[in-house]
């Protein structure tokens, strides 16, 4: 079996989403760095893997994939049985709940949290820019409304899709880990069930390993 190749960077949020899955299932893979500062993500070689010029992309034999959540589903299906069942595709209602909360992460949580991470960490550290506080403040309000929903949900079930850890929970890790390095981390203190949920799944070995790859960026 040829080795899976993941093209991306170990401290990049979407690459981390896939790394977590690979680590959870114990897959053998090679991480091939793509240099964003030199524009490698827009090179013809990389555009052939990801036509939108983004990371990550994954090659497994003759299959090339992009979009981190789609790649994550593939990895979890391919190695099903080797690691934890994070998709529950053998159960119609459980797999539907995983799909629901994975879409919530993409459509509700991520749009609120990622501008905060970008403005307060990425812009100043990577590009020497000045954070736009109005963008941060607007998105903090949005994030709090999302966390209201999460708090209610996690008061009723241990994890987002049910009483089982799933891809829906995992998908939140990378942006949330960065958020915890911003001055706004204490926002989570007002949501005790959300905070407990976060602390629970960040103790998983796969998470510790991927967090270590974030280097000085955490």
């Amino acid at each position: 079996m040829s080795l899976i190749k993941l093209y991306g960077m170990p401290m990049a949020t979407c690459t981390m989403r896939v790394l977590l899955c690979l680590e959870e299932v114990g897959a053998k893979y090679e991480l091939v760095p793509i240099s964003m500062p030199t524009g490698e993500h827009k090179s013809p070689a990389h555009l052939a893997r990801n036509p939108f010029g983004q990371i990550p992309a994954l090659e497994d034999g003759d299959l090339t994939l992009f979009e981190s959540r789609a790649i994550a589903r593939y990895v979890l299906r391919k190695f099903k049985g080797q690691g934890p069942d994070l998709l529950k595709e053998g159960n119609l209602s459980e797999s539907a709940m995983v799909d629901v909360w994975l879409d919530v992460e993409a459509h509700q949580y991520n749009p609120a949290i990622s501008p905060i991470v970008y403005q307060s960490l990425i812009l100043p550290r990577m590009y020497g820019g000045t954070p736009d506080q109005s963008i941060i403040d607007t998105n903090l309000e949005k994030l709090k409304k999302v966390l209201d929903v999460y708090e209610a949900r996690l008061s009723k079930s241990k994890y987002l899709a049910g009483d089982f850890f799933s891809l829906a929970d995992l998908s939140h890790f990378s942006y949330t880990k960065y958020f915890m390095a911003t001055p706004y981390a204490s926002v989570f203190d007002s949501y005790p069930h959300v905070k407990a949920w976060w602390e629970d799944f960040t103790s998983r070995p796969a998470f510790k390993k991927v967090a270590a790859g974030m280097g000085g960026h955490q």
């Binding site: 036509p51 939108f52 299959l63 994939l65 992009f66 979009e67 959540r69 789609a70 790649i71 589903r73 593939y74 299906r77 391919k78 595709e89 119609l92 209602s93 797999s95 539907a96 709940m97 799909d99 629901v100 994975l102 879409d103 919530v104 993409a106 459509h107 509700q108 929903v149 209610a152 949900r153």
Partner: protein
């Protein structure tokens, strides 16, 4: 009890679910949610969709929201081949292009539709700068789609899938505007759309949306 979809049939995200229901031939009811009276923020609706949005969906004791998640549930329940879940590679390609639909196509396309269709309905002024910005974004996306659809008949491969059908509701509205001509520059995309439009389920959903 049959399946229930909560929302209005003109709404793109509701229409997405109707497409899956029509594709599998399921029996269902549409239960309207009245935004004008704030029904979407009522306790009864928030139990179905905690973000106060539509659609929401119920099948016996299964309650779901998020139109693409609902669609997957329906397609799986009826063992539709639109998810290609018998083939791990094909299923992955379907997932890729569903995520592209949400992450790349939907934002500029729906922004244009919102500005040129919805805003005038509410007597609001159209922001042409926003329309132009999103038109440029959409063209860049259509360039990628043109290249992809030059290599295979549909987005995930030479088979139609949920990835293609997920584009239908927003594209339906886009094609009602003057910006439909944008597609003329992308012949493979145009042919792809025309092929999708011939499906009986799509024709039926168009009738429902325009009623």
């Amino acid at each position: 009890m049959g399946m229930k979809v909560y929302g209005l049939t003109k709404t793109t995200n509701v229409a997405r679910v109707l497409i899956s229901l029509e594709e599998v031939g399921a029996e269902y009811d549409v239960v309207p949610v009245d935004f004008a009276t704030g029904e979407h923020k009522s306790q009864a609706h928030l139990i179905r969709n905690p973000f106060g949005q539509v659609p929401a969906f119920q099948d016996d004791d299964v309650m779901l929201f998020e139109s693409r998640a609902i669609s997957r549930y329906i397609l799986r329940k009826y063992k539709s081949n639109l998810l290609r879940e018998d083939d791990i590679k094909e299923a992955a390609l379907v997932d890729v292009w569903v995520d592209v639909e949400y992450g790349q196509y939907n934002t500029p396309a729906s922004s244009i539709c919102y500005n040129v269709i919805v805003k005038p309905m509410h007597g609001e002024e159209v922001d042409l700068e926003v329309v132009d910005t999103n038109l440029e974004k959409l063209k860049k996306v259509l360039e990628v789609y043109e290249a992809r659809l030059s290599q295979c008949k549909y987005l995930a491969g030479d088979f139609i899938s949920f990835a293609d059908l997920s584009h239908v509701p927003c594209t339906y509205y886009l094609m009602l505007t003057q910006y439909k001509s944008v597609f003329d520059s992308y012949p493979h995309v145009k042919a792809w759309w025309e092929a999708i439009m011939t499906r009986p389920s799509i024709k039926k959903v168009f009738d429902i949306m325009s009623a």
